[in-house]
């Protein structure tokens, strides 16, 4: 099993630092799946999304495509096992990546010290010729084939409604304030760019209306008979939503939300070669 990758360039390094930071905020232990053309972070012990009922736990998935790396080489254990699954403490990776702020390159490599490790090597080379290098050996657990879980995007049926998210800061501050009031929030959206967040307790009811958000182009799977004006809804745990809104660190060029009526909420953020997906099941 081999894995070696290198990231250079300020923008790409920052993106990787933010990605690992986001993963660390949202999961304590994560599984890093090294595939031939991408790295995929997922929660450890995730059971996978089941089609029927779409019951699952809230989880973050993050895919970093090969294009984010200057070099990317991997070799699975054998021809047909062309993936490597590593379980590690997300905070370790985040901390190691942070030491690459301002660096010229970051290298990832699967190594073996006293135990299997993901070695993160950061090189700082300034024009003054001052060289500094930092190496971190992060202990990892290599998961055997039988422990491999599904990797997204899971093959779900197409969402009932798909809509672009409002301005991030606005959304975050609204959800933050709602979280002070109650635990559940009802998220509704339709295919005409309208989205509503509502929350109700015994004494107060809060509703936020967003319009003109825009919808991504309809994919082939959307049932044609669905009325684009009708709102699709899902009631979710507000704290999970807030956790994601506060924890995620990238600056997405595209941010959208997919809703499966009364089943599941999915938030998708894309920036260059990185895509983040966060699933929150209905209560």
């Amino acid at each position: 099993m081999k894995f070696r990758a290198k990231i250079t360039g300020k923008g790409r390094l920052e993106l990787f630092i933010h990605v690992s930071g986001t993963v660390a905020r949202l999961a304590k232990v994560c599984v890093l799946r090294v595939r031939p053309d991408s790295l995929c972070f997922g929660p450890a012990g995730f059971r996978g999304l089941r089609e029927a009922g779409l019951r699952c736990e809230a989880g973050l998935w993050c895919e970093v495509r090969r294009g984010a790396f200057q070099q990317f080489r991997m070799e699975g254990a054998s021809e047909d096992l062309d993936e490597i699954h590593l379980e590690l403490t997300a905070e370790h990776l985040s901390r190691a990546a942070r030491s690459a702020a301002g660096a010229s390159s970051l290298k990832l490599q699967l190594t073996h010290r006293r135990c299997p490790c993901l070695t993160v090597a950061v090189a700082l080379a300034s024009p003054l010729g001052r060289a500094r290098s930092v190496v971190h050996d992060l202990p990892v657990q290599v998961l055997p084939r039988r422990a491999w879980r599904d990797c997204p995007p899971p093959s779900l049926r197409a969402a009932d409604a798909s809509i672009h998210l409002p301005r991030w800061k606005t959304l975050r501050s609204i959800v933050e304030r709602m979280a002070n009031v109650g635990d559940h929030v009802l998220v509704e959206a339709n295919l005409r760019g309208r989205m509503t967040l509502s929350m109700e307790t015994e004494v107060v009811s809060i509703k936020s209306y967003f319009k003109n958000l825009g919808n991504p182009p309809e994919s082939a799977g959307v049932p044609p008979h669905r009325d684009p004006e009708s709102m699709v809804q899902v009631r979710i745990d507000n704290r999970k939503l807030l956790q994601f809104l506060e924890g995620q660190q990238i600056n997405p060029t595209m941010a959208l939300c997919n809703i499966w009526d009364n089943s599941l909420l999915q938030l998708v953020l894309v920036q260059e070669d990185v895509s983040l997906q966060y699933f929150i099941p209905a209560l």
Binding site: T89, H92, R95, A96, R98, S99, R113, R114, C115, C117, G129, R130, A131, R132, S133, V134, V135, H136, D137, L138, P139, Q141
Partner: protein, 428 residues
């Protein structure tokens, strides 16, 4: 007349003073205020006696500096000079200097005053418009501690910008207690210590290599690897933010303490940290005292001699005892006495050598019954009995500045005591 201290500072001076208090608070919960002709020294020691900090403000740092010691004439022609023995709880003094930036902006003057016959230190801040804030802090009477450490004889000396230390500190997680510094004449490397029996399955190993050209001064006498507690570095970094002076690091072989110092003419800060001793250096080195300990730093400070010792006994001074002279013949107006800091292992000697338990100073051979998992060398030494004085021709002096002391600072004195295999060594 009593021993007293009176000093006055401006707003910007208070900022430096406050930063010093903050830096020392990272080491210990207690602080000694120790005035002398050299200036006002703030001293502290951590609870396991493995780290010592001292910030010395020279008299010219202050707008006004006045101090005195009490000289007591006694019958046997031996004048005793009693210095101010003032120990403050960090919990009392730290909150006063918490917001140094706002103090710097808002106060016109700060006055600190205390006398040994009063039981409190008075700190006053004078603001604009006649507003005055006064703090009275009770102090405990306690002989300050000192470390004897000659920076100039260290084989290895580095001078770094504080920035480098700050960068290093963020690398190592707070769960890692110790780091190892490995140097060669061309290279500098700071790495996670692998001495600890850490949880292998979940500990990150980190290493930082820095080229020698990033140092202001890089003189390495021999390839060295030393291990020390990493947390205490944060203290000196706090202080370096106040002075903008580079940090000098002095060290030798494993087991010998490491000194970090900042000297900007008006203020001199020294932080001495114990380092982990090598197994191999234990038997051979006559200059370090290796203590065996179980999983924690051993108590390094010994009680030092009192006056008029007969025989070759090691005597202990208890912390609450009346002030004592160290050397009957020399006038030590400065602190200088090393004090027992409450080591449970040290017993009062009655003409015999005190028993040494595994927590106290031991000889370089095996201390029976102790589990030598880790060894930290002894940092604090002091000449001990009065009848051995002829071997000891220099007074205890405060740290550093070997260049301006006229005494021979390179003495190594050995003392042997009856009834014990213990050998006590001093490094001067």
């Amino acid at each position: 007349m009593a021993a007293m201290l009176k000093c006055v500072m401006s707003g910007s001076q208070v900022k430096v003073f406050g930063k010093a208090v903050q830096a020392l608070s990272r080491i210990s919960d207690e602080l000694w205020l120790d005035p002398s002709k050299k200036g006002l020294a703030l001293r502290c020691v951590n609870s396991s006696r493995s780290a010592y900090g001292c910030v010395l403000f020279s008299p010219v740092f202050f707008q006004h500096y006045q101090w005195s010691a009490l000289v007591k004439m006694s019958e046997n022609e031996l004048d005793t000079t009693l210095n101010l023995k003032c120990k403050l709880g960090m919990k009392s003094i730290l909150p006063i200097f918490r917001c140094v930036n706002s103090l710097e902006r808002n106060i016109e003057k700060c006055k600190i005053f205390t006398r040994s016959d009063k039981c409190k230190v008075v700190i006053q801040f004078f603001y604009r418009h006649g507003i005055k804030r006064t703090h009275n802090i009770c102090f405990q009477e306690s002989q300050p501690l000192q470390v004897i450490f000659d920076k100039n004889v260290c084989t290895n000396t580095l001078m770094i910008q504080p920035r480098l230390l700050a960068d290093a500190i963020v690398l190592f997680t707070s769960s890692q207690e110790e780091v190892t510094l490995a140097v060669t004449p061309l290279n500098f490397c700071l790495k996670s210590s692998n001495e600890e029996s850490m949880d292998l399955s979940n500990a990150v190993y980190s290493e930082m290599f820095v080229g020698s050209d990033e140092f202001d001064f890089f003189q390495i006498g021999m390839d060295t690897e030393i291990t020390f507690c990493f947390k205490e570095l944060k203290g000196i970094l706090t202080f370096s933010e106040a002075t903008h002076a580079p940090i000098s690091i002095y060290f030798d072989f494993p087991g010998k303490p490491l000194a970090l110092s900042i000297d900007d003419m008006l203020v001199e800060a020294n932080f001495i940290l114990a380092t982990l001793a090598d197994e191999s250096s234990r038997a051979s080195s006559p200059q370090s005292l290796c203590l065996s300990q179980k999983r924690k730093r051993s108590d390094l400070i010994k009680k030092k001699a009192g006056k008029n010792i007969t025989g070759q006994a090691l005597e202990c001074i208890s912390r609450k005892a009346a002030p004592r002279r160290l050397y009957p013949k020399e006038t030590l107006t400065n602190i200088s006495a090393l004090e027992n800091c409450g080591s449970p292992a040290m017993k009062r000697a009655n003409g015999d050598v005190s028993e040494v338990s595994e927590n106290s100073v031991s000889n370089t051979e095996e201390v029976p019954g102790s589990l030598c998992l880790r060894k930290f060398s002894c940092m604090f030494f002091g000449a001990v009995s009065s009848d051995q004085q002829e071997h000891f021709n220099h007074p205890f002096d405060s740290l550093a500045r070997a260049s301006d002391s006229e005494e021979d600072m390179n003495n190594v004195c050995r003392k042997e005591f009856n009834g014990s295999d213990a050998k006590y060594f001093c490094i001067i």
